[in-house]
Protein backbone atom coordinates (compact mmCIF):
# COMPACT_ATOMS: atom_id res chain seq x y z
CA UNK A 1 0.00 0.00 0.00
CA UNK A 2 1.06 3.55 -0.66
CA UNK A 3 2.52 5.52 2.23
CA UNK A 4 1.24 8.90 3.37
CA UNK A 5 3.67 11.77 2.69
CA UNK A 6 5.30 13.32 4.54
CA UNK A 7 5.48 10.25 6.78
CA UNK A 8 3.69 10.49 10.11
CA UNK A 9 0.37 9.98 11.85
CA UNK A 10 -1.84 13.04 11.26
CA UNK A 11 -4.54 13.13 13.96
CA UNK A 12 -7.70 14.02 12.04
CA UNK A 13 -11.15 15.00 13.31
CA UNK A 14 -12.95 12.83 10.75
CA UNK A 15 -10.88 9.77 11.61
CA UNK A 16 -11.51 10.31 15.34
CA UNK A 17 -15.26 10.58 14.63
CA UNK A 18 -15.18 7.32 12.64
CA UNK A 19 -13.02 5.51 15.22
CA UNK A 20 -15.23 6.56 18.17
CA UNK A 21 -18.33 5.45 16.25
CA UNK A 22 -16.77 2.03 15.63
CA UNK A 23 -16.51 1.71 19.43
CA UNK A 24 -20.18 2.82 19.76
CA UNK A 25 -18.95 5.83 21.73
CA UNK A 26 -21.00 9.03 21.40
CA UNK A 27 -19.02 11.26 23.80
CA UNK A 28 -19.27 14.80 22.31
CA UNK A 29 -15.57 15.40 23.01
CA UNK A 30 -14.84 12.88 20.20
CA UNK A 31 -17.44 14.18 17.73
CA UNK A 32 -18.25 17.84 18.38
CA UNK A 33 -15.63 20.52 17.79
CA UNK A 34 -17.69 23.18 19.56
CA UNK A 35 -18.16 20.97 22.63
CA UNK A 36 -14.39 20.36 22.73
CA UNK A 37 -13.63 24.11 22.45
CA UNK A 38 -16.23 24.90 25.12
CA UNK A 39 -14.33 22.47 27.39
CA UNK A 40 -11.16 24.50 26.80
CA UNK A 41 -9.59 21.95 24.46
CA UNK A 42 -7.83 22.78 21.17
CA UNK A 43 -10.00 20.28 19.25
CA UNK A 44 -11.71 16.92 19.65
CA UNK A 45 -9.82 14.32 21.70
CA UNK A 46 -8.51 11.04 20.32
CA UNK A 47 -10.01 8.03 22.17
CA UNK A 48 -7.51 6.18 24.41
CA UNK A 49 -6.78 3.37 21.94
CA UNK A 50 -6.70 5.61 18.85
CA UNK A 51 -3.00 4.93 18.32
CA UNK A 52 -4.12 1.56 16.87
CA UNK A 53 -5.30 3.49 13.80
CA UNK A 54 -1.64 4.37 13.15
CA UNK A 55 -1.64 1.07 11.24
CA UNK A 56 -3.01 3.14 8.34
CA UNK A 57 -0.08 5.52 8.40
CA UNK A 58 2.81 3.28 9.36
CA UNK A 59 6.08 4.89 8.48
CA UNK A 60 8.42 2.32 6.94
CA UNK A 61 11.20 3.74 9.10
CA UNK A 62 9.24 3.30 12.31
CA UNK A 63 7.46 -0.01 12.05
CA UNK A 64 6.70 -2.31 14.92
CA UNK A 65 8.38 -5.69 15.15
CA UNK A 66 8.91 -7.52 11.88
CA UNK A 67 6.04 -9.87 11.03
CA UNK A 68 8.48 -11.96 8.99
CA UNK A 69 8.48 -15.59 10.03
CA UNK A 70 5.26 -15.19 12.01
CA UNK A 71 2.23 -17.27 11.00
CA UNK A 72 -0.75 -14.87 10.87
CA UNK A 73 -3.15 -17.80 11.40
CA UNK A 74 -1.73 -18.46 14.85
CA UNK A 75 -0.75 -14.98 15.98
CA UNK A 76 -2.50 -13.65 19.08
CA UNK A 77 -2.40 -10.22 20.64
CA UNK A 78 -1.45 -10.84 24.28
CA UNK A 79 -1.82 -7.33 25.59
CA UNK A 80 -1.03 -3.66 25.32
CA UNK A 81 -0.02 -0.89 27.68
CA UNK A 82 -0.51 2.79 26.84
CA UNK A 83 1.20 5.52 28.86
CA UNK A 84 0.06 9.07 28.05
CA UNK A 85 2.03 12.22 28.83
CA UNK A 86 -0.97 14.27 27.64
CA UNK A 87 -4.20 13.68 25.71
CA UNK A 88 -3.92 13.60 21.90
CA UNK A 89 -6.04 16.08 19.92
CA UNK A 90 -7.12 16.50 16.31
CA UNK A 91 -4.49 18.67 14.66
CA UNK A 92 -1.58 16.87 16.30
CA UNK A 93 0.98 15.39 13.93
CA UNK A 94 2.61 12.36 15.54
CA UNK A 95 5.72 10.43 14.66
CA UNK A 96 6.73 7.09 16.07
CA UNK A 97 10.06 5.56 16.76
CA UNK A 98 10.55 1.96 17.80
CA UNK A 99 11.78 1.30 21.32
CA UNK A 100 13.15 -1.98 22.56
CA UNK A 101 11.82 -5.32 21.27
CA UNK A 102 12.20 -8.41 23.43
CA UNK A 103 11.07 -11.98 22.83
CA UNK A 104 10.89 -15.13 24.89
CA UNK A 105 9.38 -18.62 24.67
CA UNK A 106 7.11 -20.48 27.02
CA UNK A 107 5.51 -23.93 27.00
CA UNK A 108 1.74 -23.46 26.69
CA UNK A 109 -0.82 -25.98 27.89
CA UNK A 110 -3.22 -25.55 24.98
CA UNK A 111 -1.21 -24.63 21.89
CA UNK A 112 2.33 -26.08 22.23
CA UNK A 113 5.35 -23.76 22.49
CA UNK A 114 4.40 -20.08 22.57
CA UNK A 115 6.70 -17.29 21.45
CA UNK A 116 6.12 -13.89 23.06
CA UNK A 117 7.23 -10.71 21.29
CA UNK A 118 7.01 -7.43 23.22
CA UNK A 119 7.81 -4.14 21.55
CA UNK A 120 7.67 -0.48 22.43
CA UNK A 121 6.64 2.43 20.20
CA UNK A 122 7.33 5.99 21.29
CA UNK A 123 5.04 8.68 19.85
CA UNK A 124 6.21 12.31 19.66
CA UNK A 125 4.21 15.36 18.66
CA UNK A 126 5.03 18.18 16.22
CA UNK A 127 7.15 19.86 18.93
CA UNK A 128 9.21 16.70 19.42
CA UNK A 129 7.69 16.05 22.85
CA UNK A 130 6.80 12.49 23.83
CA UNK A 131 3.01 12.19 24.12
CA UNK A 132 2.52 8.43 24.29
CA UNK A 133 4.39 5.20 24.82
CA UNK A 134 2.79 1.98 23.54
CA UNK A 135 3.92 -1.47 24.61
CA UNK A 136 2.47 -4.42 22.65
CA UNK A 137 2.78 -8.12 23.40
CA UNK A 138 2.20 -10.61 20.54
CA UNK A 139 1.96 -14.36 21.05
CA UNK A 140 2.83 -16.84 18.29
CA UNK A 141 1.29 -20.24 19.07
CA UNK A 142 2.20 -23.53 17.41
CA UNK A 143 -1.40 -24.20 16.32
CA UNK A 144 -4.99 -23.28 16.93
CA UNK A 145 -5.74 -22.48 20.55
CA UNK A 146 -8.99 -24.13 21.59
CA UNK A 147 -11.12 -22.11 23.99
Amino acid sequence: MAQIQPPGFPIERGKIHEFANSLLDDDPLYHDLNAARAAGLPSVVAPPTFSSAAAFFSDPNARGPSMKGLDMRFLLHGGQELVFERPIFAGDELHSEPGETTSWEKEGRRGGTMKFIKNEMVWRDQAGEIVLRVFNTLIQTAGVVKD
Binding site: D27, A39, L41, F56, L76, V144
Partner: protein, 140 residues
Protein backbone atom coordinates in the same frame (compact mmCIF):
# COMPACT_ATOMS: atom_id res chain seq x y z
CA UNK B 1 -17.76 12.75 32.42
CA UNK B 2 -19.55 12.76 35.75
CA UNK B 3 -19.99 16.19 37.37
CA UNK B 4 -17.67 16.75 40.35
CA UNK B 5 -16.10 13.32 39.86
CA UNK B 6 -12.82 14.35 41.50
CA UNK B 7 -14.58 15.57 44.65
CA UNK B 8 -16.67 12.43 44.99
CA UNK B 9 -14.55 9.49 43.81
CA UNK B 10 -13.73 6.83 46.40
CA UNK B 11 -12.32 3.31 46.52
CA UNK B 12 -14.77 0.61 45.37
CA UNK B 13 -16.87 2.99 43.25
CA UNK B 14 -18.05 1.11 40.16
CA UNK B 15 -19.13 1.87 36.58
CA UNK B 16 -20.53 -0.53 33.94
CA UNK B 17 -21.54 -0.56 30.29
CA UNK B 18 -23.34 -3.50 28.66
CA UNK B 19 -23.41 -4.08 24.91
CA UNK B 20 -25.74 -6.77 23.56
CA UNK B 21 -25.21 -8.96 20.50
CA UNK B 22 -21.92 -7.59 19.19
CA UNK B 23 -21.61 -8.98 15.69
CA UNK B 24 -19.49 -9.27 12.55
CA UNK B 25 -20.56 -5.81 11.41
CA UNK B 26 -19.07 -4.32 14.59
CA UNK B 27 -15.77 -6.10 13.84
CA UNK B 28 -15.78 -4.96 10.21
CA UNK B 29 -16.59 -1.37 11.17
CA UNK B 30 -13.69 -1.45 13.64
CA UNK B 31 -11.41 -2.91 10.93
CA UNK B 32 -12.28 0.03 8.71
CA UNK B 33 -11.79 2.58 11.45
CA UNK B 34 -8.77 1.03 13.16
CA UNK B 35 -6.92 -0.56 10.24
CA UNK B 36 -6.68 -4.17 11.48
CA UNK B 37 -7.32 -6.19 8.33
CA UNK B 38 -6.09 -9.54 9.63
CA UNK B 39 -8.54 -11.81 7.72
CA UNK B 40 -9.10 -13.94 10.85
CA UNK B 41 -11.45 -11.12 11.96
CA UNK B 42 -13.60 -10.82 8.81
CA UNK B 43 -13.04 -13.75 6.42
CA UNK B 44 -15.08 -16.87 7.26
CA UNK B 45 -13.18 -19.05 4.77
CA UNK B 46 -9.84 -18.01 6.25
CA UNK B 47 -11.11 -18.62 9.81
CA UNK B 48 -12.34 -22.12 8.93
CA UNK B 49 -9.01 -22.99 7.28
CA UNK B 50 -7.34 -21.96 10.55
CA UNK B 51 -9.60 -24.47 12.34
CA UNK B 52 -11.97 -21.96 13.92
CA UNK B 53 -15.79 -22.13 13.79
CA UNK B 54 -16.01 -18.51 12.60
CA UNK B 55 -14.27 -15.13 12.78
CA UNK B 56 -13.57 -13.54 16.16
CA UNK B 57 -13.30 -9.86 17.07
CA UNK B 58 -10.09 -7.89 17.40
CA UNK B 59 -8.76 -7.66 20.93
CA UNK B 60 -8.29 -3.93 20.34
CA UNK B 61 -12.00 -3.58 19.50
CA UNK B 62 -12.94 -4.99 22.91
CA UNK B 63 -10.13 -2.97 24.53
CA UNK B 64 -11.37 0.18 22.81
CA UNK B 65 -14.88 -0.31 24.17
CA UNK B 66 -13.50 -1.17 27.63
CA UNK B 67 -11.61 2.16 27.56
CA UNK B 68 -15.03 3.83 27.46
CA UNK B 69 -15.36 2.96 31.16
CA UNK B 70 -12.55 5.29 32.35
CA UNK B 71 -13.23 7.87 29.59
CA UNK B 72 -16.99 8.17 30.23
CA UNK B 73 -16.47 8.10 33.99
CA UNK B 74 -13.52 10.52 34.36
CA UNK B 75 -13.48 12.21 30.93
CA UNK B 76 -11.50 11.40 27.75
CA UNK B 77 -8.61 13.71 28.73
CA UNK B 78 -8.05 11.94 32.07
CA UNK B 79 -6.30 8.80 30.81
CA UNK B 80 -2.74 8.55 32.08
CA UNK B 81 -2.21 4.81 31.71
CA UNK B 82 -4.23 1.93 30.23
CA UNK B 83 -2.83 -1.58 30.46
CA UNK B 84 -4.72 -4.54 29.03
CA UNK B 85 -4.28 -8.27 28.99
CA UNK B 86 -6.32 -10.36 26.58
CA UNK B 87 -7.57 -13.52 28.24
CA UNK B 88 -10.18 -14.78 25.79
CA UNK B 89 -11.71 -13.91 22.42
CA UNK B 90 -14.92 -12.12 21.53
CA UNK B 91 -17.22 -14.06 19.16
CA UNK B 92 -20.16 -12.87 17.05
CA UNK B 93 -23.42 -12.49 19.05
CA UNK B 94 -21.57 -12.10 22.36
CA UNK B 95 -23.12 -9.78 24.94
CA UNK B 96 -20.35 -8.11 26.89
CA UNK B 97 -20.28 -6.27 30.20
CA UNK B 98 -17.53 -3.67 30.56
CA UNK B 99 -16.87 -2.99 34.21
CA UNK B 100 -14.60 -0.77 36.28
CA UNK B 101 -13.86 -0.40 39.98
CA UNK B 102 -11.72 2.20 41.77
CA UNK B 103 -8.83 0.58 43.65
CA UNK B 104 -6.96 3.69 44.84
CA UNK B 105 -7.47 7.46 45.06
CA UNK B 106 -4.43 9.69 45.63
CA UNK B 107 -2.61 12.91 44.80
CA UNK B 108 0.62 13.10 42.86
CA UNK B 109 2.36 16.46 42.27
CA UNK B 110 -0.83 18.15 43.52
CA UNK B 111 -3.00 16.43 40.90
CA UNK B 112 -5.85 14.06 41.80
CA UNK B 113 -5.34 10.51 40.51
CA UNK B 114 -7.29 7.26 40.69
CA UNK B 115 -6.33 3.69 39.82
CA UNK B 116 -8.99 1.46 38.31
CA UNK B 117 -9.41 -2.26 37.80
CA UNK B 118 -11.28 -3.04 34.58
CA UNK B 119 -12.66 -6.08 32.84
CA UNK B 120 -14.77 -7.11 29.87
CA UNK B 121 -16.88 -10.20 30.60
CA UNK B 122 -19.03 -12.19 28.15
CA UNK B 123 -22.48 -13.65 28.76
CA UNK B 124 -20.66 -16.98 29.39
CA UNK B 125 -19.07 -15.26 32.44
CA UNK B 126 -15.73 -15.48 30.67
CA UNK B 127 -13.30 -12.58 31.08
CA UNK B 128 -12.24 -11.38 27.62
CA UNK B 129 -9.89 -8.70 28.93
CA UNK B 130 -8.50 -7.78 32.31
CA UNK B 131 -7.08 -4.29 32.50
CA UNK B 132 -5.91 -1.49 34.74
CA UNK B 133 -6.06 2.22 34.21
CA UNK B 134 -4.73 5.31 35.94
CA UNK B 135 -6.79 8.47 35.48
CA UNK B 136 -5.95 12.00 36.60
CA UNK B 137 -7.54 15.42 36.80
CA UNK B 138 -5.81 16.70 33.64
CA UNK B 139 -6.39 20.39 32.87
CA UNK B 140 -5.87 22.05 29.48
Amino acid sequence: MRENIWNEVKVDDEYSIELKDLNRSNFVRYAGAGGDFNPIHHDQTFAEKAGLPTVFGMGMFTAGVLARVPSEWFGPTSIRRYSIKFTSRIWPEDTVTFHGRVTRVYEEDGVSHADLELKATSQKQEDLIRAEATVRDWKP
